[in-house]
């Protein structure tokens, strides 16, 4: 089903919209969540929460890309859940392999207080737009979708080491870029 039609269904408050969204992007949303939480039940709950979140958001939101919007909502909910789980240090919490983008920023560095997240997003968009297709895939899969390096290597048919090498170079490049533009101080 076309995304525009699907969004229209949300706008018309058709409950079929959630079913169609689930059929079309449910698996992707689940994998976004599972990469963060590494626990089936938690991931399923987060995806269900995301359906509700999307239902509440559209309208008035009219996303350019429903897929990206659905993934974004799922990611935010899953990260919140992850932090909550982690803070409570619940027993049996699975180990996760993901790394958030800020984790490679040295502790002594911070962001200018005056800067809004929106301005930083624009700078990050600019930096991402400079990456070639393969590097963009590697970086986004690692830090946005939280894929493991091994999975990225498998999908790109590169070795794990080559992916690490690329990520390392991109981290350095991003740090330099953020510093030059006065984002990191």
């Amino acid at each position: 089903m076309d995304d525009k039609l699907l969004i229209e269904m949300f706008n018309c408050r058709s409950e079929e919209a959630i079913k169609c969204l689930s059929e079309k992007y449910g698996a992707t949303m689940y994998s976004v969540s599972y990469n963060i939480l590494n626990k089936h039940e938690d991931a399923e709950e987060c995806v269900n929460d995301a359906y509700v979140g999307i239902w509440n958001a559209i309208p008035p939101t009219n996303p350019d890309s429903l897929c990206a919007f659905a993934c974004r909502v799922t990611r935010n909910i899953s990260l919140t859940r992850y932090k909550r789980n982690n803070a409570a240090k619940r027993k049996g919490m699975a180990h996760t392999d993901f790394e958030e983008i800020s984790e490679f920023i040295p502790d002594e560095r911070t962001v200018s207080e005056e800067l809004e997240a929106k301005e930083i997003t624009e700078t990050l968009n600019f930096w991402l737009s400079k990456l070639n297709r393969e590097n963009l895939y590697i970086f986004m899969r690692r830090y946005w979708y939280m894929d493991s390096v091994t999975d990225i290597a498998k999908n790109t048919e590169l070795s794990d080491a080559a992916v690490y090498l690329r990520i390392d170079r991109m981290k350095k490049s991003l740090l330099k870029f953020l510093t030059e533009r006065g984002i990191l101080i």
Binding site: R72, M140, E157, A162
Partner: protein, 376 residues
């Protein structure tokens, strides 16, 4: 975590949808596929598979790695790839005005370009009589530059403003001028790439020549980048878009590149700017050039890192010796007569490999460049 870091995380979570959607799945692309001919396998990835069995005296350099477990394909993997004799590829070669580039030309659409490139003698194509011809041959130049790891040729397809922004800054970080960097890249590539000769074929399937909607779409897409790097979209005089089919690459008359590595659905766009044709910026790939640049022979680092293996020679063919697991090692021409099938050898090699199919039986093979080979 400090508040600043949270801000960065939040900002990254909200990056443009285009980056989220475009990286949802891996889009195969000719450019990247061509690059995937080699895969750099560094010590990190192989640390788990190391089998230490003692010291080897290096002929050329000090070696600080141990023996590496043999990589072997299963029968099932090999069965996936079948190819007949090279004549099955249906190549028809017509000499192209004395250059080492050959093509059979029947008009741009449907033309078969057969590029017979010698790694030692590279030429930039010049015999063109129309914009479409120029771009079709620039596409050939682009493909050749990737297969030959010729970044001088590759970078010549892009405007200097773009290179300054994307590439030269990286050269400068390494403390090198463009000329020094290209010399280093060429040197590393010729040292570590296990291939001598390649023939490449491709056909143009579709061509959009100065189609107004293609041109407009291109201009809109590039406008912000052009403005940033100091180029003026109003100076774009034409845009040509191709798709290709029937692509094939044959190496050293022995191997072919796996067919599925060519993606026939991709668009290849060239644009005329201020009187000269250039390749679209997404065709610029600096990944390997920068990796080559960081290789350090004296420190046994990066692409110059040396690995070791041992085994019995099962085949000697056209400059390569083969171990039992379909790993082929390019060996110096004057040394190959010292070895026979059945010899047990210890090999030191650069772990830059090409994944190819053997033309004779379609078996999947791995090619490497040897640094030294010793009989045991």
């Amino acid at each position: 975590m400090n508040n600043g870091k949270n801000k960065i995380n939040e900002a990254f979570g909200n990056v443009d949808s285009v980056f989220i959607e475009s990286t949802l799945s891996y889009q195969k692309r000719g450019k990247n596929r061509a690059f995937r001919i080699i895969a750099f396998v560094a010590c990190v990835a192989l640390a788990l598979s190391i089998i230490p069995i003692g010291m080897i005296i290096a002929n050329k350099k000090e070696v600080n790695t141990d023996f590496i477990e043999t990589q072997q394909f299963t029968d099932a993997e090999n069965e996936r790839f079948t190819v007949g004799d090279i004549s099955d590829l249906g190549w028809e070669v017509i000499l192209f005005d004395g250059l080492n580039v050959q093509k059979q030309k029947t008009g741009v659409i449907g033309a078969k370009y057969v590029l017979d490139i010698n790694y030692g003698e590279r030429e930039i194509f010049s015999k063109c009589n129309s914009d479409a011809d120029i771009c079709a041959e620039l596409l050939g130049q682009w493909i050749v530059s990737l297969f030959c790891f010729d970044y001088d040729l590759h970078f010549s397809l892009f405007p200097e403003q773009l290179l300054a922004d994307y590439v030269y800054v990286e050269f400068a970080e390494e403390g090198m001028t463009k000329e020094q960097a290209l010399n280093k890249i060429t040197q590393v590539a010729s040292d570590v790439i296990p291939l001598e000769n390649v023939k490449i074929q491709y056909s143009i399937k579709q061509a959009y020549i100065n189609d107004s909607s293609v041109t407009q779409e291109f201009i809109e897409k590039e406008r912000s980048v052009f403005e940033r790097i100091g180029m003026d979209v109003n100076k774009i005089e034409g845009v040509i878009k191709f798709t290709i089919e029937d692509a094939a690459a044959c190496f050293d008359e022995l191997w072919v590149y796996e067919d599925e590595y060519f993606d026939y659905g991709e668009d290849y766009i060239f644009y005329k700017y201020d009187g000269r044709w250039y390749a679209e910026r997404h065709l610029l790939d600096d990944d390997l050039s920068i990796d080559f640049l960081k290789a350090e022979e004296e420190n046994n680092h990066g692409y110059y890192k040396i690995y070791k293996c041992e085994g019995k020679i099962t085949d000697i063919t056209n400059g390569y010796i083969c171990l039992h697991d379909n790993r082929y090692f390019r060996i110096a021409e004057n040394e190959i007569q010292d070895f026979s099938i059945g010899d047990n050898v210890k090999i030191q090699y650069y772990n830059v490999l090409a994944y190819v199919k053997r033309i004779s039986d379609g078996k999947r093979c791995l090619l490497y460049t040897s640094v030294s080979v010793e009989k045991q």
